[in-house]
Structure formats: structure tokens, C-alpha cells
Symmetry: C2
Subunit: 351 residues, 2 copies
């Protein structure tokens, strides 16, 4: 009918193109580079317009919008969390996002973010562990072997130098799937029959379970001194993975306290329980791990700035790859006040 | 590389396809049907999960996310407001939106919403006027002849029976553009040299100016008894169109008071100044206009439920028209826990 103007077009990265892009960069290299981008943004944390995510809860799940802006770019992510989806053959978490130019308000990128979220979550976890885990950590226990697990394992290998990963899931099929996917990754993978067995000799424990019903993945007696816990499965009100007593023994690090107090493990604690925001560690405002016996806990729920960093990273690199398509998304009449005239001209063209 | 599954695909309505759809339905018929959808949702207002929109302000404009859900469907709109865009040949307001299934969290529609917002805003204004304007109103003054103006005029013709529209804009070129576009619409159009002249004999006054700098479009002496004011240009903090004294003489109707008190004309008034939410009128909980001499004011800022209604309307009707394209937006591995395996299989397929 009519030919869209250049201003009307917004690059869109489909799932297929995102996979091409990730494979083009390489999974581990992309995890390393995403962690660099996120860390750089955490260092300038105070520049950002931040807000806890806007959540719409239903009985079966949650739909969230996560906006962030640094004054030049604005990004937001749409993400759902529906634990029962898996049983219907659907993803528990799917996501897409948009990056926009603050000066004009025009979107500059629309992207799938299911893959990108898995990558940025793993990059953030490993970035936190690099600052918090004990020196020389080489073994990680991974409790929960679902969609996040391989990305976590590869990020901890690439960013923290982890060599051994000990797997446990209440469903042995998930463990088999994870072990098979990580064969050939360079990691030594050990499937375990219990969570306790998975934690033997581990300096880092990652919990990434999805289901609301398994509320306590780790009990207090399972966690020894000096361990770093990377708890990323508890990320909505009522959903936690760790027994409260573990929290009371831990130095707790969070992304953005106002959001984590609602969604994270620390919803089990008093509202004024001391926590450190991770950016403070990277900006040199607060210490990370200080002594060997310390239990450090990253209570990760995912924050909008991580998505912002990931969208910007992709936006900066996508054009030369060609792994995108242009969407005719912005109505752009010749005279900006003549939106109706644009419609009438389209009618005339259609005859 | 890989063929997306059926679940991965989300229908997308481009600007071009939205124009085809609007022309297929017919502008006035679509305005009437949108007003019916919006009124039906206003009647069941209390069913909705409501939140004031989430705004990110900068010196040059605002980017907003506007979510709403009725428990079955969830919708949100991304919309910017950048008054200086016009001088750079860009739209002041552009928008797109998403409708999703609450049960799964999966998006079911992505759509341009610059056109759809113009249509739903006009439908909402005319719907409000049908309940609030004096009986037998036939003449409307329209102050501000920008991108919204033709849609407003056509909605008031189709929904309220307006026959005469008197135009005024500080820029005569805008008035000429609006008058030319409305020639042949069946409306009698009268371009006027001043705002005062435009208001002669008008029972309804619509103010739809975009620029923050023209703060007072209507002064108190311009507004006589019995008039209905449809004020839709003031829609962000610091941006108003009416002198405060007019507000003090008016019965004020708003969409959602917590949002309008921040963004609307009533930001000039005390926080507890009485206002009526429009849904209360349609649900029979509050009166509309009660006496002929009353000045009624619809302080319209645009609310998320109107976008929700509009997205649902389009979603219900788009499939048979074919005016959409499928986007591969949702990563959908065969085993929902095997997101990483999906990537590896894509790699294998690519050789």
C-alpha cells in the first residue's frame, strides 16, 4: 500500500536471529562480554533511573515490565513467570525487550529476550561470584537443572574459572539433559542423587529451581563455612529456596534492595535486615568477601539494568551481522501533525 | 537455520497493516466500535488490575509503560511524548503495544499503536461527552489542530452527533491541514483566527495542544455556563491547558484519579479536590451532567484500560483480514527446560 519511511523501521531480532547472533559471538565469549557490560553499568549505578519492576500477578504466574534508563537510552523488558507452563510444554519464562532513544522516544531495537535473559542472568551471577566467592573456588554445586543451568555453568567456567559442576534436580531427567548438554564444554560434570551429595566439596552453590512448591531447597545444616551461595530461583513474592537460618548466617548481596525485599530470599527477613547492593562492591563503596569462613549470598532476582546492558550490547553489535529484520512499527507521516492525512493517502494509493 | 514452532509466533500489526485494517473497518465505524469496547470495560472497571503508568521523564520528554489486566488478558502500551519532536520532523507521540494471555504469560499480539492511540483517545473523548455534554450539542470548538484533531472531530460526529467544528491553532498551517483533511467528512468546518472566535456558539470545547510552553489555552472569561470541556492535551506533570479558575467552576470527570492528579489539569488543584471517575457514571454509581448551566470537564490523560480495550478489539478482528505478519518472538524448545539444547541444535543445523 505505502512504503514505510526510514524512521518507521525498527530492527527486530527474532529467536532464530538471536541464536545465530549468540553462535556467531560464541556462548562463553558473549557471557564474558555481557558481564563486562553489566559491571560497567553497575559502576555507574547512580546515573540510572531505577524502579522496582511493575508486576501483574495472577493465580498461575506473573507478567512483569522492567524499565531502566541512563538518560541516553531507555530499555524495558516484558517477562512472564509461569511455573506450571512446563507441564503444558511451554517455557516457564519468556521475554522480549525494547531499547529506545531518550532524546526522541523512538524505539531503536526490539528483541527476543528469552535467550538474552538466560545469558544476562548467568553473566550477572558469575560477575557477583567473582567478587564474593572464596579464592581458588573450582567446584560448583548446581541445585536445579532446568533452562538456566547450562548458561550458569558456562558463565562460572568462563568468568570464575570453575572446573567441576555437581548437578542435582528432583527430576533425574533434567540432570541427564544438563549433563548431556555440558559434555564437551570442558567442565567436569558429576550428576548426584541428592542435593547433599551435590554440595560435597563445592565452594559455590547455585540454586536455580523454578517451582513455587519446593520452598526450601537448602537447609541450614547443608551449608558450611566459607561457601558462596548463588540463589537465583527465588524471584517472586512467596517463592524462596533457602531456609531462613542460612540467611541469618550469611553476608547478603542484592541487586536493588527495594525490589529484592519483595521478591528475593530476604523477604523472609526483617525489612531492615542489612544487605549490600552489589553495585557498591564494584564501585568500591562496600567490601565483598572479607574473610575465608564467611558465607556470602547473592540473592539474585534479576534487575532491569542487566537487561538494559544486554540490549545495548546486542544493539551495538547486531547491524554488521545482518541478524535482524526491520519492522514497520512507527507511524511516520511526512508532516508529523498529519497522522490522519497519512491514512487518507494510504487510502488513495489503495485505490 | 531452524523452523520456529507454532508457539513461537506472535502476530504483529505493522503501521501499514494497521492502516489497511482501519480503512477496511472504516474510520467512523471503528471509532464507534472502540467506544463500545471501552465503555464495556469501564462498566466492569473493578475487575481490572490497575496501576498508574510507569513514566521515565527526561528534559525533552517522557517514555511511559501503561499496563492493565482483566485476569484473562494482559495488555501494555509503550508510548512517548516529546513535544520538540515535531520541529525535527518526528511524531510527538508514537506508540506500540502488546496483548498477552494471563494463563501462560505468552504474548498473543504485538501492534503499532500510534494510529490505535489516536483512535482510542478520540473514542474515549466522545464517549465521555455523550454522558457529559449538554443535550442537543451540535457545535464543537477545537483548540489545537495537530495529529489528534481529525480523529476527535470524526469521533464527535459519529458518537455525539456534532455537525459543526470550529478550528483554531497558534499555527494557521495546522488549521489549514485539519480543515483540508475534514473536507468531505460531512462536518461543517470553520477555521477561526483566535481561540475566542472558535468558541463562539460551541457547546463542546476540545483542547488538544501538544506543547508544554503554551500552558494556558483557555482563560476563565472564555468559558460560559453549560459548556462541556474535553481537555486532552495536558497529560504530564507540569503540562496543563486550562486556567485554574475554570477548574474551580467545573464538575470534573477523570479516568483514574491517582494518575490524573499527577498528570492532568487537576494537578493545579488540591489533592483532595472532588472529582468523579468516568467509570462511575457508566456503571450508574455517579451522575454525569445534572443541570444545563453546569460546566462539565473531562480531564483526559489516557488510561491503560483504553489501550487494553483497543488491543483486544483489534486482536478479535485481525485474523480474518490477514493484515498481520507472524514474528518468531518466543523461544520454544521441544523440552521447555532445554533452552540451551535448542541453541546447540540450531548450531548443528547450521553445520
Amino acid at each position: 500500500m505505502s512504503v514505510p519511511s526510514r524512521l518507521a523501521l525498527v530492527p527486530f531480532i527474532s529467536v532464530d536471529n538471536m541464536m545465530r547472533f549468540v553462535l556467531h559471538i560464541g556462548v562463553e565469549r558473549m557471557l564474558v562480554e555481557l558481564a563486562q557490560e553489566i559491571e560497567a553499568d553497575f559502576r555507574r549505578w547512580e546515573h540510572f533511573d531505577k524502579t522496582p519492576r511493575v508486576a501483574s500477578h495472577s493465580e498461575v504466574g506473573v507478567i512483569e515490565l522492567m524499565p531502566a534508563s541512563d538518560g541516553e537510552l531507555y530499555g524495558f523488558k516484558y517477562v512472564n513467570g509461569h511455573p506450571a507452563n512446563m507441564h503444558a510444554g511451554l517455557q516457564t519464562v519468556t521475554a522480549f525487550g525494547v531499547l529506545a532513544d531518550v532524546a526522541t522516544g523512538y524505539p531503536v531495537l526490539v528483541s527476543e529476550m528469552t535467550f538474552l535473559t538466560a545469558l544476562r542472568t548467568a553473566a550477572t551471577s558469575a560477575m557477583a561470584a567473582r567478587a564474593l566467592a572464596p579464592t581458588g573456588a573450582h567446584t560448583m554445586a548446581m541445585i536445579g537443572n532446568g533452562a538456566q543451568s547450562e548458561f550458569q555453568a558456562l558463565a562460572f567456567r568462563a568468568i570464575c574459572g570453575i572446573e567441576h559442576v555437581r548437578l542435582y534436580d528432583i527430576d533425574p531427567a533434567a540432570t541427564r539433559k544438563c549433563a548431556a548438554n555440558l559434555a564437551g564444554s570442558g567442565l567436569r560434570i558429576v550428576p548426584c542423587a541428592t542435593a547433599e551429595a551435590a554440595m560435597e566439596g563445592a565452594q559455590i552453590v547455585t540454586t536455580c529451581t523454578a517451582d513455587k512448591q519446593y520452598a526450601t531447597i537448602l537447609t541450614d545444616n547443608m551449608v558450611g563455612a566459607g561457601v558462596h551461595i548463588n540463589a537465583i530461583g527465588g524471584d517472586c513474592p512467596g517463592k524462596t529456596e533457602l531456609h531462613r537460618d542460612i540467611l541469618l548466617r550469611s553476608s547478603i548481596f542484592v541487586e536493588y534492595a527495594p525490589q529484592t525485599r519483595i521478591e528475593g530470599e530476604i523477604q523472609q527477613l526483617a525489612k531492615d535486615h542489612p544487605v549490600t547492593e552489589l553495585w557498591e562492591v564494584f564501585a568500591g563503596r562496600a567490601p565483598g568477601r572479607t574473610i575465608a569462613q564467611q558465607i556470602t549470598l547473592f540473592d539474585g532476582v534479576g534487575f532491569a539494568i542487566e537487561d538494559f546492558s544486554a540490549l545495548r550490547y546486542v544493539h551495538q553489535r547486531i547491524k554488521p551481522t545482518g541478524f535482524y529484520q526491520d519492522l514497520d512499527m512507527i507511524a511516520d507521516p511526512d508532516d508529523p501533525r498529519d497522522l490522519y492525512g497519512m491514512l487518507m493517502r494510504a487510502k488513495a494509493l489503495a485505490g
